[in-house]
Point group: D2
């Protein structure tokens, strides 16, 4: 049986001293510990932190890069680098290729990934991330976690089997 | 000088009797009346309504389709159909190709377009659409309109020159 | 009835003194003269020449750009610029969005467009362009023209109705 | 040091009794034997054969799928499935993500991959595949192999270090 792939989405500019960095690191570690493969956008901040965490547990890490080998090198904790050359359009690939995903904080790029995940039916767990409501919409059932561990547990449960 | 291109984003399943349909129609008409080109995702609902409105004013309409000629025909009010075969990734093209955009209501696909617009610096005006806040974020300066006319005026002003 | 869109593919580095430039200019003019819309990759060389020719006849020109407004400005003869941000992947859009196409000379990028056109069923006419044979393959029925005028006539016939 | 990724491109409709199938199987096995990761388009024919060969040697196999989990399932020998939802545009990702590639036989889709590889500087070795010449072009230095083993050796040498 193929290993489950869990995505981690979040800001590329998060520095090591920010709480999101530590949370992403813990999430990456948790994903690897549960025998899953980590998928990120392959760049810095949350993507680096999660990949570093997964690597530390001996997990496999995939990075879906926006550019080419020359223009957008992956962070050093990416095992398998996929170069798309498609900029933001690579967010669609991230969402489609995960069994489930966790969004940690994040900027507008992360919000687009959350929206695409919800549109395409990829379960996504939010941790200290965006909240959003539609004009006059019924309550959406968004998965929200309070801790990195809880986020991992929820994402793996949502990934199905 | 090239004509400005104004995008209209919104749900594909909106029916003619819904208020979003009429609003999108009025917006399409307003965009054409101001001598701008309309760009949409080329499909139904809000996309059809806006294109119909623009056509009625003699405007030019572009549709960026998710599929191929065979699989995703444009609505009958699209003058120039661009077939991408890239599914949701075509949302990136919509956002990149507009000088500014208006989001009318909308589902998750529209939320992803709003997020991509904000990320890539394409001014976007919201009309009865999503609201969203980032965890612990400073107030974002999102453009919000109360009427279709106001949405058009704001979008054209934001489109620069 | 929507106007037919005819694509012109060819090298981006062709200079004005080369025969391909003049041929592309004549082809662009012919496409416009026949009431069709010209679609190119929006950049230099053959793309500029064809767009300039179509413009001179009062035709409409579309450019499917590989980058963003900031990074890949269209040539001055493009009326409608579509920014994809997807690099070479935009070749797929070029091929899918034409009713038929003409390849003039060209480098490897053009060869990829010819191949994609043949794969996806978009009729393509070659003028002083690539020739190719498959290992042990039966003769392919590739459309080949000897003059710009003949290329236009063949492309419009192939575009169907 | 990250493992090298070697791509194998070829027809999706090649059956088990055809010589291309056996060649692709041998190539996949050779790639794995040399400690490299195999990347294919994830579907049938040559892609299945190469993945099966790599799997038999205990290698890792990546498949870059044109569709979604629901619409384009990978062949059973793909370890890591990346879903793009971008149809033929995924060929660009295949080419960009390899250190080098081998084309075995192939249809027009393969020709587009060969052309994209040559355009973007990805070394590609041809085995019983397309031959092509440019109008009035100087001789191109295309890598051509006579046997699967030779193709693997050439591709790994070309992948650099």
């Amino acid at each position: 049986m193929a290993k489950k792939i869990i995505g981690v989405f979040g800001g590329g500019n998060v520095s090591e001293t920010m709480s999101e960095y530590q949370a992403a690191f813990d999430i990456g570690r948790g994903i690897a510990k549960h025998g899953c493969i980590l998928l990120t956008g392959g760049l810095g901040g949350v993507m680096t932190a999660a990949s570093k965490g997964a690597r530390e547990e001996g997990g496999t890490t995939i990075g879906i890069l926006p550019g080419s080998r020359d223009t957008s090198p992956p962070n050093p904790y990416v095992d398998i680098a996929i170069y798309t050359g498609m900029g933001e359009a690579r967010n669609v690939i991230n969402v489609k290729s995960c069994n489930s995903a966790i969004a940690v904080g994040g900027e507008y790029g992360t919000l687009s990934e959350i929206a695409l995940a919800l549109k395409t039916g990829c379960p996504v767990v939010l941790l200290d991330s965006w909240s959003f409501t539609r004009h006059a919409a019924a309550e959406e059932s968004i998965l929200t976690a309070d801790t990195p561990d809880e986020a991992v547990t929820m994402a793996i449960a949502a990934a199905g089997n």
